[in-house]
Amino acid sequence: MTLSGAIGGAGGLTKQGSGTLTLSALNSYADNTIIDAGTLIVAHDGALGAANSGTFVELGATLALSGGFTYATAEALSLNGTGVGGVGARENLSGNNTFAGSINLPAPGWIVCTAGTLTLKGNINTGNQLNGGLTVAGAGNTTISGMIFGTAVAGLTVAPGPGTLTLSAQNRYTGTTTVNGGTLVVNGSLPASGVIIVNAGATLAGTGSVGAVTANGGTVAPGPIGGIGILTVSSADFSNGGNLLIQIQGYKNAGGRL
């Protein structure tokens, strides 16, 4: 179902049932948006109602962006779980989309960029769970320019897949970062006291600074993807099948450096 007309009033909007609802207009309803089940596709800035209310994605439900636009309204999101069929509690279906709002994880939550690019400008709170934090997955490319903070034990996990996750802020989350696939590009910073595990098939790259890196069959490639640069690490352990990839095209100023 698609609702292309504007929705207003003092109440909120609750999406129930396993189907898909698309909101394609600027809506002004005052209360929260709650996605109890199924998928809610947002196709217009401001479609989630007044910005001073929030949007809550419950376990097994998905909030998706589609079409290629900027959701400039600072809508606060609360994400739970892996979404409908594991596609993510927050999914980028298609196009190059930007979301400006903050994200809070009261339980472990997945953000999946299925295709295109997804840019998240708001801060992300990983919460304080003992059984997970933020997971980013998908074949598309995700950029998080907001700060990630929180004390969840598994602070940030990059799931297997060909996609790239780029972090550009000075992040403060304390949990472990695990890269299980794709490429994690750190152009900002992760806490110097943090732990990053790079497993087989995954790559850690970038020009920022990170904590203690353990490459368990994974690759550490200082610099931007396909380019030369310096990645600063607190320490690095390559002894368990780790690979250091250095790009070099001359001897002056060498090449990529760790």
Partner: protein
Amino acid sequence: MILGGTSNITFDEMNKLSGKGTAAGIAKYPKGGLTGKFSTSNVINGTGLLPTQFGYGAKSFDVTFK
């Protein structure tokens, strides 16, 4: 920095590296020093130059290509 074990270093010559020379300070390890050496090395997008000498210094390591 901990090497040894099954560690590997890959040099991507980007099809551009030319002439013999030494790439200095590829990795620096001012805090904690260095344990072990890379067990294996390989080249991709090579120009025919190979890493022939690894200089594991006290604070950084260099690689000479010929």
